[in-house]
């Protein structure tokens, strides 16, 4: 499988979950392992371009597919805009839900560069912030959308 553009070959038990392959075998610990019941969304990564909860995907099901984790957001020119906006708007509190929030937010803005607050809230409705800091998270995603619009020269 390909993770963040790098091909990995591993011989794993079928029962190994994708989140544990990423964290324990590939040492990509940015992806957090939370509720283990596909409720909290802290483990959200992209598989073939779509956000999925990696605690509910077997690692073998990702065989031959492309996985993207939070470690891949930062580019050669610095943080991704959603990462920067989460910092600027205090969208992180304890930081536990942040990797999942960032991956979902990045996908939302890729698909819909100018979402309403309702659309933002709907998009992150599969993520739980145990600090209940949703207001700042929504503000951060809005901030990222505005910053990217400004970068494109949109009015």
């Amino acid at each position: 499988m390909t993770v963040n553009g790098v091909e990995h070959v591993r011989d794993v038990e079928p029962r190994l979950l994708l989140v544990h392959l990423l964290r324990d075998e590939l040492r990509l610990t940015g992806t957090h392992w939370g509720c283990d019941t596909s409720n909290c969304g802290a483990c959200t990564v992209w598989m073939d371009g779509l956000p999925v909860k990696s605690c509910t995907v077997l690692a073998v099901m990702a065989d031959g597919r492309s996985v993207r984790t939070v470690e891949d957001l930062e580019g050669p020119f610095g943080l991704d805009q959603v990462q920067q906006s989460f910092m600027d708007c205090h969208g992180l509190q304890c930081g536990f839900c942040t990797p999942g929030m960032l991956m979902t937010a990045r996908k939302l803005l890729d698909d819909n560069p100018d979402p309403t607050d309702t659309e933002i809230r709907e998009a992150i409705s599969g993520q739980i912030c145990r600090c209940t800091g949703y207001r700042n998270i929504v503000a951060a995603i809005r901030h990222a959308a505005d910053a990217e619009a400004a970068g494109r020269g949109d009015t």
Partner: protein, 298 residues
């Protein structure tokens, strides 16, 4: 850490391959698609299959199409269609808004990227939203085994909680929803928080005849103890009546009377019974309004 018990894993290369594997391993083999029902059950050791057959590569099981004519055809929904794909499908929403009403409130957007329509109905959870939707729509399941395809009406598909008409060496390949010109449909659900299972939910599909009389109606109920997810008595009461508030109220009362909810952490029996009645009324009201809009537009 929740880890499933040991099992073998095979990735299927065709539907025939799936059937061959299921025959070889018997009832201890299970099909996995999205895995969002099965994998949590395996983690809790409520399910301990010896073999998982991964069908995610079988593109022949995916896709949403209209087959046949508008009057005699059907909407075909492949079993591997993801919830997100059904929600995004304009052809599905155009013919059956009930599908989009339901998909908007099934789990959350990330889960919907992965979970499949076939997996949801085959799981046969008593609180599954799509179960009540497809019984209301009088959809037909196409099931494939070694002897070929057979069809089962969704009203005969559910044999009890977590039990369906799909036999051990068979696979659900698609659902067919008969097209009905001028029908309106809607789904309404009460849940405790975003993405949760229903406390109760109702779906309605209504065809109106001359004079606003109910020509045909389907009412699906979810999470209130109806083994077949259908409010047959309320349907019988409505057929042939003028679709007005009095008729909706009478149908709601009958639906509430005949459902068999059980008390759990989502609420007591009387509350769920109340919801079954009120949500039946609301689903009928919305479905009829949509049917009337469709008629005036057409």
């Amino acid at each position: 850490m929740q880890v499933p018990a040991f099992f073998e894993y095979q990735r299927a290369t065709s539907v025939e391959h799936v059937v061959t594997l299921l025959e070889r391993f018997g009832p201890e083999a299970r099909i996995v698609a999205g895995g969002h029902s099965l994998i949590p059950m395996m983690k809790l050791r409520l399910a301990q299959p010896e073999l998982l057959v991964d069908v995610n590569d079988l593109h022949e099981l995916a896709g949403i199409t209209v087959d046949g004519s508008v009057d005699a055809g059907h909407l075909r929904i492949g079993a591997l269609t993801r919830h997100a794909e059904l929600l995004a499908s304009s052809v599905a929403g155009e013919h059956f808004p009930i599908l989009h009403d339901a998909e908007r409130v099934i789990a959350d957007p990330v889960v919907r990227n992965r979970g499949t329509i076939g997996g949801s109905v085959c799981q046969a959870d008593p609180s599954e939203d799509l179960s009540g939707v497809f019984t209301a729509l009088r959809a037909v399941a196409v099931i494939r085994g070694a002897d070929g395809d057979r069809t089962v009406p969704m009203r005969e598909f559910f044999h009890g909680p977590y039990e369906t008409a799909v036999r051990p060496a068979e696979i659900l390949v698609e659902l067919r929803v008969p097209l009905r010109t001028g029908a309106g449909s809607a789904y309404v659900k009460v849940d405790r928080r975003a993405g949760d299972w229903a406390v109760a939910a109702a779906g309605a599909v209504v065809s109106l005849g001359p004079g606003g009389v109910v020509d045909e109606v389907g009412i699906g109920l979810t999470a209130v103890g109806d083994a077949d997810f259908t409010a047959v008595e309320a349907e019988d009461l409505l057929r042939g009546r003028v679709a007005d508030e009095d008729a909706f109220a009478a149908a709601g009362a009958v639906a509430a009377e005949h459902c068999r909810p059980t008390a759990d952490q989502r609420g007591p029996v009387d509350y769920k019974r109340h919801l079954a009645g009120e949500l039946t009324v609301r689903a009928l009201r919305d479905a009829v309004a949509r049917a009337r809009r469709g008629r005036s537009a057409g």
